[in-house]
């Protein structure tokens, strides 16, 4: 079923939205996302996709537009990146409170300044607490499929969801994928059946004041819905495999059965980690990999079951400054609830698009094997420094006056 094509991650996401029959698309262009909505706008213009494309003046307005369209009963899609996602932040909360199952693709991009267009996951993970479902794609295939998978779950729990894709190493990488048959996707993903719709015939007030006597209960329903989403993700991921040939789940273990040291990673860098694990195995080192596919809802059970008792290196292409890499923080939290003692080492690497190479992962493996005490945050690949913690005693240097510097 479906056809084999050579597409970029971004265009695969466009096909994800198209196969999902998104009805309203609104976005504001930003590198490295732009080509997603560029292709969608062409599809809308040519009539290939029966949708309304709304141009707006900012990402904040793009999110407002799709929330409104979703409330009116449409399946809606948007895409953004980095600063654009940050500008949407207020509206991201709104989408949850309004229970609008918007789906968004975020091409992860390091935040400015320094001005950067390259990959880093901090923009995405900074939205941790808004209440959206959050998935990480590793391949071009997943950049397409996760949009479909996300709609399937989002529209059952009436929660929005976002799919992350790493800038350039996925968004602009062309690789083969199966573009699914439309009828097969239609069978998997039924039309959106909204809870309420904005309808003049049935006038209601939306988004009004809820006093402290009521707010908690309303929000509690959204919290419960997210718990339910955890189960549905698993079910819908398995059904995806049956219907469309690729089986997905909230985690993706690799060579974990007898693994003594385990890497945890998310997103496109996982391909290199997996390759490194095969090399380590060739050297007789019992290495394994746990890829996190779902970040929200967080797969507590799977993480605890698969990691407890092992030596774990969490690879974070992101940082919660003053704490740890964000995955490391989450993994430790999951393992703190009744799991057997587990050593968690937090590694921060690839910030601002720095290449995370197979050799980089092998360096981390060497470092991991040389340590016997869990470390909060170890920085990998900072120029001039060995893998290690940040220096708390470094003096802040002022810029030298201009005239003292020869050009």
């Amino acid at each position: 079923m479906g056809e084999r094509h050579l597409l970029t991650g971004n265009h695969a996401a466009s096909y994800g939205a198209k196969l999902s029959r998104a009805e309203v698309i609104s976005a504001y262009p930003i590198t490295p996302q732009t080509t997603i909505v560029e292709l969608l706008s062409e599809m809308v213009a040519s009539g290939e996709l029966d949708a309304r494309y709304i141009t707006v003046e900012s990402e904040h307005s793009a999110m407002a537009a799709v929330i409104g369209a979703s409330a009116a009963g449409c399946r809606t899609y948007t895409a953004t990146s980095g600063q654009g996602l940050a500008l949407m932040h207020e509206m991201l909360h709104w989408a949850v409170g309004a229970r609008t199952p918007v789906v968004l693709t975020n091409v992860t991009r390091a935040m400015a300044p320094g001005w950067s267009i390259w990959s880093e996951q901090t923009d995405f993970l900074s939205q941790r607490d808004v209440g959206w479902m959050m998935l990480f794609a590793e391949t071009v295939q997943e950049a397409q499929d996760f949009v479909v998978w996300m709609y399937r779950v989002a529209e059952q729990v009436f929660l929005p969801g976002m799919v992350a894709m790493d800038a350039f190493i996925l968004s602009h990488t062309s690789e083969p994928l199966i573009v699914h048959d439309q009828a097969a996707v239609d069978a998997y993903l039924p039309p959106f059946d909204p809870l309420y719709t904005l309808d003049p015939a049935e006038p209601r007030a939306y988004g009004g004041l809820v006093n402290r006597d009521h707010y908690f209960e309303i929000r509690y329903k959204a919290f419960e819905a997210m718990e339910r989403a955890g189960r549905l993700l698993v079910e819908a991921g398995e059904e995806f495999g049956e219907a469309l040939g690729h089986r997905y789940g909230p985690v993706d273990p690799f060579m974990m059965d007898d693994a003594e040291i385990v890497f945890v990673s998310a997103g496109a860098m996982t391909s290199n980690v997996r390759y490194a694990v095969t090399l380590l195995r060739e050297r007789g080192i019992k290495a394994g990999l746990l890829r996190l596919v779902a970040f929200r809802p967080f797969p507590f059970e799977e993480v605890r079951r698969l990691l407890e008792g092992r030596k774990v290196a969490v690879l974070d292409r992101n940082m919660s400054s003053g704490h740890s890499g964000i995955f490391a923080e989450e993994i430790r939290s999951a393992l703190s609830m009744g799991a057997a003692p587990t050593e968690v080492y937090g590694y921060v690497l690839g910030i601002g698009g720095r290449d995370i190479r197979v050799e980089t992962v092998l360096d981390v493996a060497d470092d991991l094997m040389s340590r016997d005490e869990p470390a909060r945050t170890l920085y990998v690949g900072v120029k001039g420094l060995p893998i290690g913690p940040a220096r708390a005693d470094r003096e802040i240097a002022r810029l030298a006056p201009l005239e003292e510097v020869s050009p």
């Binding site: 300044p113 120029k383 001039g384 810029l399 006056p401 201009l402 050009p407």
Partner: protein, 557 residues
């Protein structure tokens, strides 16, 4: 420059100042580069003397009078004169002409002239030991004398009239160019060491052959003073317009009667008519074509109309006769036919005659040069002098120029010819004067209106030098009709100049460069280590001085 191999080499924040620019040595991204490419402004291009107008404006605005004067006199020694009488082809070419009107270039030229009237001319080059004779002290002769003297030659100027100045003194009416200005300029030339011998005429006391023997080079610019014959009956009853203009410089000259006619449509005709009005007479211009074909410059015609000069167009005198005190002129009405060689429509007779009565009729149908003093050896097949582009003749040491070579032309054209000949003489006998580097560095291209960024300049109406209205002009008699701008007016008017093709250090490129890749060292200096070749400076440069060239062309030279 830190090598950035260690985290501690980096600044605390991402700054793009010189101390941390090693982060991005963006110069090697470049496949195009900006260059400062000074070129010829449209006004300079239209100036017969190629005066570097935006360049001297810039010095003037900065208060550098000596530099402004030196820049101007590189091409024209007499800003006080052309600042009064130039026909302003520069202003017609000004890239601002279709906006609020051109920059008032001639008024600024006069301002420069007056502001630097007290300055001596630039020192002359070391003496060459060569001697050059200049025959004729009109604008061509004086200009040649200036540049020859500046080149280090000994220069003697011969003049047939009692005073030097030629057409400047005798042909241009006092109200346009006061004799006192001519006196000053001649005195300033004398101060350079140029000697003047007046009252000696070629063909009279002076012999061309003797001059050739005595001098290393001879430049003859004796002008075009002979009135042309109309070949009509009773022509001897007409007076010469040019003679009248010469006489008008003497106080107390009066026209012979109230009713005066002037035949012709050129500048001499209008000068005669306007002078007649100032001396209390009525003036009627009789011209055989229409205003569109008149060779006189437009502002002269408009001024004449304002001053009450009457015009009878498509009118040709056929005969004159005396009837008592009256001159009776038979006038034939003409009509325009097909264009002639000059491109103007040819007047054709209609046979309709009428008569008119005047007290005096002046002929001003164009002047021609007298070739009497010249040997046949210097003449070409057509009987005229054979003249090269810089005044070369068939005799090695003899050069000619000005109206003698061109027929009646403008002062600025004569000045340009004088300089050209001086350079040709230098080439032949050696010698020269110092020329600043920019002359060689300047490109040939002309900066046109579409090259300019007009949005960089605010809308501003032109400022003009004071000019008497018609009634006041007539009341002032032969007194000068125009004045000089104030300092404030001149500065404001220079502000209007787009400075086409000339860097007047406005700083726009420095401000717009997104990469801090332009340093300011008395003007923009491109730092090609960091310049990405983004083209923004070229796009923003108000006067189109910056051009973008391909790197591979730079590499090939």
């Amino acid at each position: 420059m830190p090598d950035l191999s260690h985290v501690d080499d980096y600044p605390e924040i991402p700054v793009s100042l010189r101390s941390s620019r090693g982060v991005l040595r963006t110069g090697d991204w470049r496949n195009m580069r900006p260059v400062l490419a000074e070129r010829v402004s449209a006004c300079t291009h239209e100036c017969p003397a190629s005066v570097p107008i935006p360049r001297y404006f810039h010095h003037l605005a900065a208060g550098r009078l000596e530099e402004a004067f030196a820049t101007f006199t590189l091409r024209n020694p007499f800003p006080r004169i052309t600042g009064r009488v130039c026909p302003r082809t520069c202003e017609a070419g000004c890239n601002r002409v279709d906006r609020e009107g051109p920059v008032s270039i001639r008024d600024l030229e006069r301002y420069l002239g007056e502001a630097t009237a007290g300055l001596p001319h630039l020192p002359s080059a070391e003496a060459t030991g060569s001697k050059v004779a200049v025959v004729g002290s009109g604008p061509a002769g004086l200009s040649a004398a200036y540049y020859l003297r500046r080149s280090g030659h000994e220069v003697v100027v011969f003049e047939s009239q009692p005073e030097a100045g030629g057409m400047l003194r005798y042909g241009i009416p006092e109200y346009r160019l006061p004799s006192a200005v001519v006196d000053d300029e001649i005195a300033r030339l004398q101060a350079m060491g140029i000697r003047f011998r007046t009252g000696v005429a070629l063909g009279g006391d002076l012999d061309l052959g003797n001059l050739e023997d005595e001098y290393d080079a001879v430049f003859v610019a004796t002008g075009a003073w002979l009135g042309r014959s109309m070949g009509v009956e009773g022509e001897s009853l007409m007076e010469s317009g040019l003679d009248f203009l010469v006489a008008s410089h003497d106080a107390g000259v009066r026209p012979p009667g109230r009713r005066c006619a002037v035949v012709g449509g050129g500048n001499t005709a209008l000068d005669v008519a306007r002078t007649l009005r100032r001396l209390g007479a009525e003036a009627t211009v009789l011209y055989r074509r229409t205003p569109d074909e008149m060779p006189a410059i437009g502002e002269e015609y408009r001024a004449a109309v304002e001053e009450g000069v009457a015009f009878e167009f498509l009118t040709l005198p056929r005969a004159l006769r005396k009837d008592g005190a009256d001159l009776v002129v038979t006038l034939e009405t003409m009509r325009l036919g097909d264009p002639d060689d000059s491109g103007r429509r040819r007047p054709e007779p209609t046979g309709d005659d009428r008569e008119a009565r005047f007290d005096a009729v002046y002929s001003a149908i164009g002047e021609t040069a007298s070739l009497e003093p010249f040997p046949d050896a210097l003449k070409g097949g057509d009987g005229w002098l054979a003249v090269g582009p810089s005044g070369e003749t068939k005799a090695d040491r003899v050069f000619v120029g000005g109206d003698l070579a061109t027929g009646p032309a403008t002062v600025v054209e004569a000045i340009a010819w004088g300089r050209r000949t001086a350079e040709a003489v230098n080439e032949r006998i050696g010698g020269g004067y110092e020329v600043p580097d920019w002359v060689a560095e300047q490109g040939d291209g002309v900066v046109g209106p579409t090259d300019i960024n007009p949005a960089t300049f605010p809308d501003t109406d032109p400022h003009h030098a004071p000019h008497l209205d018609a009634a006041a002009r007539l009341a002032a008699g032969m007194g000068e009709e125009a004045g000089t701008m104030t300092d404030a007016e001149a500065l404001a008017e220079i502000e209007r100049c787009y400075s086409c093709g000339y860097c007047n250090e406005c700083g726009t490129c420095f401000v717009f460069c997104p990469d801090v890749a332009i340093r300011w060292e008395d003007g923009p200096v491109f730092d090609y280590t960091f310049c990405k070749g983004c083209d923004i400076c070229t796009t923003e440069c108000p006067g189109h001085v910056i051009l973008t060239v391909k790197e591979e062309e730079v590499a090939r030279g």
